[in-house]
Symmetry: C2
Subunit: 200 residues, 2 copies
């Protein structure tokens, strides 16, 4: 047996969502149909609008339906500070720390094995920005993965060429964690990046 064609189509299409398999898709469809048709319609409308109208900010490449996003066009922010992140989620995380500079989104990382080169993550655009704008410091906040580190290294070279100060966010022991369970590599970085107490 299968469900009615429209229901089958709904269950099938919901599987495009990340982490949603056949069972979850079925549960979602039943839930919306039996308890929240209004919610279902809202999702349909929001998705339709978002898929059609959301593009990338021309300056920082984040998702935005206007050519320049709210952050890039905000004159109160520090336009001399540029933080480079991989994704909009990373941007939000950094934003929540109270950072008030600008961003640049890679929307990925260098990964030659997948055919992702500097152009694919907008590094040519970043190079242009470094030449055209007055940027005092670049803060590289790519993920501490192999690809993230490679990307950071590449960006460092661009910054060197453009003679712009460049820093990398600190790696070390996260707050609330237990030293015993931290991997050796992180602990090595934490030891190497130790900060000396200043006696006053």
């Amino acid at each position: 047996m299968s469900f009615s064609p429209l229901l089958e189509e709904l269950i099938h299409s919901l599987r495009a969502l990340p982490g949603v398999g056949p069972k979850s898709a079925q549960r979602m469809a039943f839930h919306l149909l039996s308890r929240d048709r209004q919610g279902g319609k809202s999702i349909a409308t929001a998705l339709q609008h978002a898929m059609e109208h959301i593009q990338h900010c021309q300056q920082c490449r984040t998702f935005s339906e206007v050519p320049r996003c709210g952050i890039c066009s905000n004159q109160k922010r520090d336009h001399h500070l540029l933080c480079i992140v991989e994704s909009p989620a990373d941007m939000l995380a950094i934003e929540q720390t109270g950072y008030r500079g600008l961003f640049f989104l890679l929307l990925g990382h260098l990964s030659p094995i997948d055919g992702i080169g500097p152009q694919d993550i907008g590094l040519n655009h970043l190079q242009q920005r470094l030449q055209q704008e007055v940027i005092e410091e670049i803060i590289i906040a790519t993920n501490p993965t192999v690809e993230g580190e490679a990307t950071a290294h590449y960006i460092l070279q661009l910054a060197k060429q453009a003679k712009v100060n460049c820093s990398r966010i600190a790696h070390g022991v996260p707050l609330g964690d237990v030293l015993e369970y931290i991997d050796t590599r992180t602990l090595s970085l934490a030891m190497a990046g130790r900060e000396r107490y200043q006696y006053t």
Copy 2:
């Protein structure tokens, strides 16, 4: 900071899906926007159609966009056998066992504490069917929960009144499970419902 209005709206609306919190909704939105806009549009279309057109089968109450669903209108099925389940997912599970009779969906269970009475789960409609159709056996397959058992008991009374044979699916030890970890109540049911070997 917040995202652009359309993106915020998308993330907010996705939370209507069951088991989707703020972080998952964000992840889903980013995934669709960056990697699968076509998939996002398909979900929007499928949802719109499903929410508007899917109603309930007039006979068995399952989800269907036509007045009588594929199972109820299939003349090859055994129209004298009626299996009563709580949800479309239960219906699918029973269907997969090779059952070839008809179904009746409660779309819930009796729960006086939540104000759900017999009318709300269509038992008046079931009573009508028992009087009007020639049904040889009712198989009650509600969940083995307190509410499911109460509902089963109520249906048994309806079947008695209509003088229709009535059975309940067996409860016992599931295949592949270990006796040691089965709860006592299930094991009692398994002991009470034991089947005697037939010597040939």
